[in-house]
């Protein structure tokens, strides 16, 4: 039981960044824009969020309040960075995959350049403890208290709230319906007076918002409030894309997929602590490869009848209606 508690407590802070970034990808792709640049957007949010924490950590502010302020900074950074994609893909009708790749390459180089010249290291290191040992009161509930309210981060609760908001916006509002229409059949959407360009800008902007927050939550929950240009976010943006595809571009399925991936990763990194796996004596590298291998296996089975938005990746051209 101790092992299960430990695994769940370890899984949630990893699952939340994956979930948020995959949701961001979903908003972008359901509006019709492929967002390969999520990795770069995440890293932008992670780095600027951490820089913000670095700048104010001496002020003696409450750590959780600091986290929320830094989250806002990260969200703004992600939004601004995502404009690069929106402008190129929507206004300039550029190849979306190439633009995303350029965004993924630009930000680590920029971070290394900035950090080496201004901070004298490869990234930014903070010394704030965002960790929550137990939530007062709630941690006393049997089982549930152990699972969800001990050894955690408030990022978990914020992430779940954002998931709920995303589901409502996506399925229960006019905006959500219009956004989805632009990814399936933009000319039909246009013919009933929906501004396709505007909806796609909105989709990409939301992906920047969620991607930036997800990136900062990665830095909080996975790398202890540190961020550097070499390891970046370790391919989490790409994993999030896989999570999104596995979740068939639907929010709740994406949440389940994110949990599965995070669980696998947590197992991979805690093999020495799990007596059963440790006794197998399998090389640790296999566990580290496991999220990527599982991604491939899952995609192999789900891609045949893929439910990808029909118009994703195709710039909308009014004159071809």
């Amino acid at each position: 039981m101790e092992t299960i508690y430990y695994l769940i407590q370890g899984t949630l802070p990893v699952a939340i960044p994956l979930l948020l970034v995959a949701l961001g990808g979903m908003f972008s792709e359901r509006s019709g824009v492929i967002n390969i640049g999520l990795e770069g957007i995440m890293l932008t949010g992670a780095f600027l969020g951490c820089v913000f924490v670095y700048l104010i950590e001496g002020s003696g502010m409450n750590a959780q309040l600091m986290l929320i302020l830094a989250m806002i900074v990260a969200a703004a950074a992600g939004i601004i960075y995502s404009f690069m994609l929106a402008f190129a893909a929507i206004n300039m009708k550029a190849d979306q995959t190439i633009v995303g790749t350029a965004m993924n390459m630009l930000i680590p180089a920029a971070i290394l350049l900035f950090a080496k010249m201004k901070l004298g290291s490869d990234g930014v290191t903070t010394s704030v403890f965002f960790y929550v040992r137990e939530v007062p009161g709630l941690s006393k509930i049997p089982v549930i208290g152990d699972l969800f309210f001990k050894n955690t981060y408030i990022t978990v609760y914020i992430g779940l709230v954002l998931l709920a908001v995303a589901v409502v916006v996506f399925y229960k509002t006019r905006f959500g319906l219009r956004l989805r229409a632009c990814g399936e059949h933009p000319s039909a959407a246009d013919s009933v007076g929906i501004n396709v360009e505007k909806m796609r800008w909105a989709g990409v902007t939301i992906s920047g918002f969620l991607g930036g927050i997800g990136g900062f939550f990665y830095a909080v929950g996975v790398t202890d409030g540190n961020c550097n240009g070499h390891t970046g976010v370790a391919g989490f943006g790409f994993l999030a894309l896989a999570v999104m595809i596995f979740g068939q571009w639907k929010p709740v399925k994406i949440a389940l997929a994110a949990l599965l991936f995070a669980l696998l990763r947590t197992i991979a990194y805690s093999v020495p602590l799990i007596p059963f796996l440790n006794s197998l004596g399998i090389n640790n590298a296999f566990y580290k490869m496991s999220p990527y291998i599982v991604t491939m296996i899952v995609l192999a089975f789900t891609s045949k009848k893929s439910r990808a938005p029909k118009a994703e990746g195709i710039p909308y051209d009014k004159s071809r209606r």
Binding site: A88, A94, I98, M103, L113, L299, A300
Partner: protein, 372 residues
């Protein structure tokens, strides 16, 4: 008459691609200059000059460092011609490097051919890359998995796998130095003897590979089918082209090219006697694979264009390392390269509209002249 030839040249696709590439480069360098201005205003001007011209003082190194990115550039560009985005050149490159290392250090050869061990190492590298390109090819052709996601995943899988295989093998790994062991002289590529440079015969192999690719793409049935599939997949299928087979073959050949790049990089001769190139397994994805994307885009996926763009990227990379004289970090070049990629995704559109604008201005100027 002469004028007609010139305007024909100006209107050709090759020239348009060249114009777009130049525009992307200029924007990239201007952006880099602004970044340098922001970082340290006083030395920005000599800094950017060093980046552009510094490489000319070390031409041997410029060509030497252009070899791996030329190969990964060909790997990306070749797949592009078929409409496939091979972002997995890094993994294929790493695999090729590992196979070459393994052949160099672990496989005993008969005494007669021991002297040309490097030939077998190069071939082994090609095999390694081929395998690592074949896998995304299968996934794409038979299971309809997007090759971008597959090749990204296989970049990670390949990197972890190679690092693990190297660290487990005492013949390959020098645990005291946390690096691979030195390759024997017979496994190193023959040097071209340029002073203070590791330039070796692989540069010829890379250029020959580009020429062969050019011929394959433009003069063979396979090349024609490949380009046809790139233009319109459904039409090609309808015309009876075996697109599944072509996808697998293209990805495998692309992987082979990147694998050769990895082999050429690790088998390069060292200027210090008794040593060689080594690899450090530190869980980092090979940057040369991603730089190959920039090379391929700048070269408009044309094999001959890729040769020149690889040399150009290598030139500004060398210049970038020299800019450290003025306090700039070499990462400035990675920033410039990323901006170049970003703008090359739509610089064709911009440069076409600029050209149109100039054309209009010229025309209106002419009509005004007639009025007088």
């Amino acid at each position: 008459m002469n004028n007609g030839k010139l305007s024909k040249l100006v209107r050709s696709d090759g020239f348009k691609a060249f114009r777009a590439a130049c525009l992307a480069i200029v924007i990239g360098l201007i952006f880099g200059f602004f970044v340098m201005l922001a970082a340290s205003p006083a030395s920005a001007a000599p800094g950017i000059l060093t980046i552009i011209t510094g490489g000319f003082k070390k031409l041997g190194d410029v060509f030497y460092y252009s070899i791996p990115i030329m190969m990964t550039g060909l790997a990306v560009g070749f797949a592009f011609k078929m409409g496939l985005f091979n972002i997995g050149a890094s993994g294929q490159y790493t695999m090729g490097m590992f196979f070459a290392l393994y052949m160099g250090l672990c496989v005993p050869l008969p005494a007669g051919i021991e002297g040309i061990r490097w030939v077998f190492c190069v071939l082994a590298g090609a095999v390694g890359g081929f395998i690592w390109g074949f896998i995304p090819g299968i996934f794409k052709a038979l299971l309809n998995v997007n090759e971008v996601i597959t090749s990204i995943m296989f970049n990670y899988i390949g990197m972890y796998l190679v690092d693990m295989l190297i660290m487990q093998n005492a013949l390959l790994y020098e645990s005291g130095k946390t690096r691979t062991k030195y390759l024997p002289d017979s496994a190193q590529l023959p040097s071209l003897g340029v002073k203070n440079s590791n330039l070796n015969i692989a540069i010829f192999f890379a250029v020959i590979a580009a020429v062969i690719l050019y011929i394959v793409l433009n003069k063979t049935t396979f090349g024609y089918e490949l380009r046809a599939t790139g233009f319109n997949k459904d039409a090609a299928e309808y015309a009876g082209m075996k697109s599944k087979r072509n996808i697998m073959l293209t990805m495998s050949l692309a992987g082979m090219l990147a694998g050769l790049g990895g082999a050429f990089a690790i088998l390069a001769p060292s200027t210090i006697a008794g040593s060689s190139m080594t690899y450090e397994p530190i869980s980092v994805i090979a940057a040369n694979g991603f730089n190959g994307i920039a090379v391929a885009l700048l070269g408009a996926s044309n094999p001959i264009g890729i040769v020149f763009s690889a040399v150009f990227i290598s030139l500004i990379q060398r210049g970038g390392t020299m800019a450290s004289l003025y306090g700039y970090k070499p990462e400035i070049i990675d920033v410039v390269i990323a901006v170049i990629i970003y703008f090359s995704a739509f610089s064709g559109i911009i440069s076409a509209s600029i050209a149109k604008l100039f054309g209009k201005m010229k025309k209106s100027g002419e009509t005004k002249g007639e009025d007088k």
